[in-house]
Each structure stands twice: as C-alpha cells, then as structure tokens.
Amino acid sequence: MHRSRKTLALAAAGTSAMMALTACAGGADPAEEVRQITWVINNVPSQWASTSGAGGSVYTVQMLSGVVPNTGTYLPNGEYEFNMDVLAEEPVLINGDLDEGPFQYSFTLHEDAVWNDGTPMTAEDLRVTVMMTASPSEGYCTTCDPRGSATEDMIDTMEVDGKTLTVTLKEGMADPEWTSLFDFASAGAGFYPSHLAEENGWDVEDPDQLGEFYTWLHDTRPEWSGGPFQIVDGDLTNQVVKEPNPEWWGAETQVDRIIHPFNTEEGTFVTAFANGEIDGANPAQYSEDVILGLQDLPGATVTVAEGSTWEHIDLNTENEWLADVELRRAIFTAIDRADIAERLYGTGYPDYELKNNHIFNSDSEYYTDYIGETAQGTGDTEAAIEILEEAGYELDGDTLTLDGEQVGPLRLRTTDTDIRSTSVQLVQSHLAAIGIEANIEMSDDLGGDLTEADYDIFQFGWSGSPYFAGSAHQFWHSESGSNFGSISNEDIDAAAEAANSAPTLDEAAEYSNEAVELVVQEAYVLPILADPNYFFASDRVAGIEDNLFSSFRATYNIGEWALAE
C-alpha cells in the first residue's frame, strides 16, 4: 500500500512540475516580432502543382497562392481584373472574326517580371505551360494529365517573341474565353517556370521529357516562385510555410510569414480559433453551428455569402415514367423551392436567392429569368395536377396512375449531407402531394452513381464559374459524359455547340441562354439555389476578405495581407 501511495504522489509532483514548465515557457515567445498569419486550408493539397487531374484541387490552388503567377482574377465584387504586376498590357485580341482568318490573340508579360532565382519571365514560360496543360492527344507531352484542357486544345500554333506570346487557334475555332488561358481559373492556376526544365536537363520539345518535367513540378516542393511569397518549408500532409519573395517586383508585402495548416475537420475550427492557433479559414462546406459558434467569439469576423456550388434536381429521362415531359413538368411544378431554401438557410443566411437561370447568376449582365416564367419550383400542387390530368394521368386517391398503372415509385437520391438530405425529404413530401411515391436512397459514390445513371431523381451540385461557354455543352449535350440523365434534344445540342465556339462572350451568352430556355421547357434540371459559404478571420489581421468568384477564395490577394494596426 505504501508503494502505491508513493507512486501516486510522485505522479502528482511530476504533473504539477510540467504545468509550471509550460506556464513559464508560454510567457516568453521568441517569435514575437515576426509578423505571422496562420490561415487554414480546408483539405490536404495532395500535390505541388495544380494541373494534374489526379489530385489537382482548389486546395492545391490555395496552397500555391502568392507563388504561382497568373494574369488575372475575378474580384469579390464580381469584376474581372488583369494582374498588371505580371502583364505589361491587357491581353490583345488580334483577330476575332473567323471570316478574316484564324482566331488570334497575344499576351505580353511585364518587363520587370522575374522568377525568384532572378531569371526573367518570358513568353516561353507561357508556351510551355500551354504544352503541359493541353491534353496528351495534342502531342506536346505524353504523360501530362491536365484536369481541363478545353482552351489549350483549340490552339494551333504559338509564337514566342521575348515577353510576348502570340497564339493562333485551329481553323474554324473561336474561344470566347481566351483571356482565361493563364488566369486564376486555368488548370495550372497560372503559369510555370520553363527554365527549370532545362536546368534539370529536360528538353521541353521532347514529349517524354516534358512529361518528366511535368511530374517533377507536381512532385517537388516549389523553391521557385513568381509571386509575392515563396514556400520555405512544409509538406503535403501537415502545412506549408511561406515567406516573402525577395525578388518580388510589385508592392511590398506586409507580413513576414504565412503558415497554411491543412485541416480536414471543421469541428476543430471554433476551439482552435478560440485558442489562438489559427487566424482564419475559408471552409469548403457551410456549417451553421460553426458559423454561430464563431460569431459568439470575441475578435472574429465572420461573413456568409452565396458560393459557387449550386444545388439542382435532375431527372433521369431513361426512366420509363420520366421519359414523359409532362410528368417531368408536373414534378418540377410540385417541388416547392422556397420551402426548401427557407428551411436550409432561413436562419443562417436569410439573404439567399433562388436560382432562376442554370448558367448565369442574377447579378450577371447576361442573366435572364427562365424558371420564373414557368410554374416550376413553385410547389403549386393544383397546377401540377392540372398538367397531369391534361396529359392523361389520374390521381386515384393518394396514388397517381396512368392507364390504371401506378406511376413510380421513383428512386430519389443525393449524397449524405445534412443540407441535401433535408432537401430531398422535403421533395419527397412535395411529390407525395401529387400522388408520386419517392424512396430516398443516399449515395456514397456521387460520380459513380451519376455516370451509371443509377437514379430516377438526383439532387447534387455543380460548381458555377464566371466562365460559362462550355457549361451548356458539358451539362446537356447529348454526347456529353456529364449529361447523366440523357436528355437528347437537337436544338439543345446546337445551342450548346454554338455557345462553346462563339467568337465573343456576348454570343456565347446568347446561345447559353437559348440552351437554358430549352432545358426549362424539357423540365430536365431544376436549379434550387447556390449554397452559401462562410469565411472567418481574426481581428488581428487586415486586408483579408473572401472571394467566392475564385477558387483561391480568401488567398486571392495574399500579397496584400497585413496585420491590423
């Protein structure tokens, strides 16, 4: 017995000694004078460059903020701004009229623009970036696997003249979004230093060797930088540390160090923030409790705004019942979008706005309200029943029938999130009001279930983008791999193709709207609303704001970040 008492006492003494130790150490912080910001990235980036489709993500892009140079970005207010640190002038459209000749444009880099090893940035950097971002079938690179290559694949020839790159598109091709080639939204989120290929002994003209350079860029922590910061420490699992780039030729940076810890667990944000371990984050998911929890903390700025992912309900036209457009219209009419939106965001984000155009937000100059013209999404049960009765359906008590046969039951699917499951439960009750039984089934494999069209009704989200020309084609063209519910309509196909290859944005917008109108008539996809996103930052920092138009989010202007006075 004596023994155990003694041990206990010892243990207690040890603990209190430890406490005393830490209390001392906490007072003397050696890094006090370093102006430092700790900004969370909401997932692990998985690789060091963002071009590859097998791991390129917004988290890689955010990690590379202030390191990879790009030619422009959308601002938080939705306006586009060219990066005049990097560019000598705004990109020039040399020829946009296909009758005159091939589509041609040029980019000219700023004369002071240099990489952090002192090597000037040249048009060769731009050219090699395109070569790595084009799909392998273009022949530049055997093993490059870019996550998106639509713009690059249109290119026929590129001419390098010092700081100027002149691009000529293939015959008959036009690219309304050509200015995006090296901006924030490109697959590489900017352009990469081509002189490092030569330094490491690779010949970029050789498709195999270019592939090796491409792999090296994705595999090696960048010591290179073309922005205000450079990465000085870190790995792909815990965090990266950035410090100012001494060769940066733009406005001087206001902080000495930025740490990006990777954090996958939103449940830790409130405690870690309260504990002073992080200065803020721009999380990928909306979470009302985290928002409320942060709002309760002193010294926190929290904003919530409409994000880029928009929720919508898709019908599978391959289903024997849903092949009938009248039934599809009735279903969409019966769904009450206002009810869904109010329940999801009525308390946390009461400024939500229902989405009435699949491609354009209401603040876009191209916006036209197509949904509002119809009864779709109103939850008008009587109107829905009227449509059904005219089309020969009968409401037999609580069951909708056609020629005596019960319509459905339909499989109503979505991924297992709080938001979506709430939404489909409401849709289920809306459909029950017109006699259609819908069984909810959750999906663990969104991509797989969509690709296999393993559903009758599916709610999921597309990520909206200020770049829209290819959207209609991807969503609704009968040949597109992302047209999961297999709508097949020649007029939609024509409009989508025209939008994709229109010479100007105005024309592309016109065709896109045409496609939207046709899709609404077909009652194929019902948009609900864009999910809000939140952002929080400590009052310690200044100059940080969320940018929901950019995948960089708050890090889009990392060079301007500062500590509050």
């Binding site: 939103e266 449940g267 409130v270 409790d289 297992d416 709080d418 009750s429 959750m442 663990d444």
Partner: protein, 306 residues
C-alpha cells in the same frame, strides 16, 4: 494464439454441474446476479430506455423526419420538449428513433456474432488439429481486414443505402471472430473432461456434444462477451457515423445524432448533449450488467477484450 495449452482453471468446478444439480446452480447464479446492485439498477435503467426507444415513437406526436410544421432551431420547451433542429426535426422524436436503431444494431450484432462465433469457436476447439488450425486462420483473416473497408465497400454497393441492418451485418462480420477465439479457448480446456469423453463413448455425434455439452459449459464467458459486445457495437456504430459510414439519413441513430451535432456544443446544446448522454448511459448500464453477469456466473472468470 493456437498451440498453447491453457492452465486448467475454471471449468473444473462446473464439470459436475451437467447432470442433476443444474437447477440449484441456476438459482445460485440468479441469486448472485440479483444481489449485484449496480447491475440491477442498470437493468432497470436499460429497460426504461428500451421502452422509450420502442414504445415512445408510438406515443409521441413527432417521428424522426423533417416536418413542414416544425419551426427550425427552437430551444427546448412547449411543443418540443427537447427542441428542434434547423431543418425541422423534433429532437425528442429523433432521440427515440435514434435509440431504437442503435439498440437494434447493438442487439443484432451481439446475437449474430455470438451465434456464429460460438459455433465456429466450439467446432474449432472440439475437432482440434488441422481443422482447428484452418478454422482459426479464417478467424485471423477477419481480425485483419479492416472494418472500415468493409463498410465502405458494402455501403457503397447496397441498393437502398446503409440501413441499420447493413450496419449491424458489417459490425457483426467484424466481431464474431473475437467471440470465436474466446469460445475456442474454453472448449479446448473442456474437451478432455470426463463428461465429454463419456458422451463420446456413448456414441453422441460431435454436433450433439458441442451444442449439448460444450456450449452450455462455456455459457459463462459467452454471455459476458455477448453483453459487452453490445456496448462495443454501439461505440463502433458511433465511430462509423463520425467517419461518414454509419446509418444514412433520413434514418437516424444515436451515433449519427452525436456526429451531426458535434459542432453544436455551445451554439445549440440541446442537439449536442441528449444523444451523447443517452448513448453513454446505455453503454454504462450494459457494462455494469456485464460485470454483474460475470460475477454471478463465475466469480473467478476473466475474459479477453479488445
């Protein structure tokens, strides 16, 4: 794990119990259990919770689903004694359903893995030799393949999503192997006993011997293990929910509720505490009941737990 011979301890005393004195031993066990006060209190509490979970939904006005009439995020009181969620669930209704699904999962797991595990383990122990080695290798395989891989594989492919039944099945597949090991150990030490030899000499078939003689004599450790497995299964289900592999919405379990509300501790405590506390109470009572059973069945019996 297989070739060692266990020291001959517990079963010696019970060997004579197989014939006439069965009833008196049974009475003794019951009496010992009834005297174990924590176990009795736990049993009563668990009975109340079970009634709450299975009878409650029939009596209470709201079920666990979203209802248009329910106002969002209302603190406890009035029509909704435990408040409501943002989407429009009645928390009390959810809690009843959640407890029900959790108990269903736990009991199913316990029964399934106990039946399969004891038969498997007893057969391995009885036959011995090559059969034993082979059967125990299979057990080893199931102790190695990670639970979560199975969950991800099964929940992704089962039509209709992950229901309470699928969750139970997955946990059971994972846990029967441990029961098999426990039972095999006991049977190994029993099979050379006189009463088994006697049965064998009388021409009883192996299965008869296993079911009639060996398993009843191994009942102590089996019952205790089965009881404790209930608590383990509940916690596993909660862990699976946290990692996104548990029962899927719109259905609900206690684990799922805890996970959904894990960020709500300070903002909406009425979502955070009730499911957590209820789950802890269930596990606590189960552990005490297991403890009482252990004491009652054999005061000296120990069992292995991972």
């Amino acid at each position: 794990m297989s070739e060692k011979t266990l020291p001959d301890t517990g079963p010696r005393a019970r060997a004579e119990a197989v014939g006439g004195p069965e009833r008196t031993q049974m009475q003794m066990i019951v009496r010992r259990f009834l005297r174990h006060r924590p176990a009795m209190v736990s049993l009563a509490v668990l009975a109340v919770i079970t009634a709450f979970a299975f009878l409650g939904p029939h009596l209470w006005a709201w079920d666990h689903r979203v209802h248009g009439e329910i106002p969002p995020s209302v603190p406890p009181g009035g029509d909704h004694p435990l408040g409501t969620t943002r989407a429009g669930h009645d928390v009390l209704g959810q809690l009843m359903r959640g407890a029900q699904q959790t108990l269903k999962v736990a009991l199913t797991v316990s029964v399934l893995s106990t039946v399969v595990g004891s038969l498997w383990g007893a057969a391995a122990g009885y036959y011995g030799g090559r059969t034993d080695a082979l059967m125990m290798r299979v057990v080893d395989v199931f102790m190695i393949v990670p639970l979560l891989v199975m969950v991800a594989a099964i929940s992704g492919t089962v039509r209709g999503g992950t229901t309470w039944w699928a969750v139970s099945l997955i946990i059971a597949v994972f846990s029967w192997a441990q029961i098999a090991r426990v039972v095999r150990g006991v049977v190994l030490s029993l099979r050379e006993q006189e009463f088994v030899e006697a049965a064998r000499a009388a021409g009883a078939s192996p299965w008869w011997i296993i079911v009639r003689h060996l398993l009843p004599n191994a009942a102590g450790p089996i019952i205790v293990a089965a009881t404790l497995l209930i608590a383990v299964a509940i916690l596993l289900e909660a862990g699976m929910s946290f990692l996104g592999f548990g029962i899927q919405l719109p259905d609900i379990s206690l684990g799922r509720m805890i996970d959904d509300a894990r960020t709500a501790a300070t903002t909406r405590p009425w979502l955070f505490y009730p499911p957590g506390v209820l789950l802890v109470v269930i596990c606590l009572t189960v552990n005490f009941i297991g403890d009482g059973l252990r004491d009652a069945l054999d005061p000296r019996q120990t069992m292995e737990r991972r």
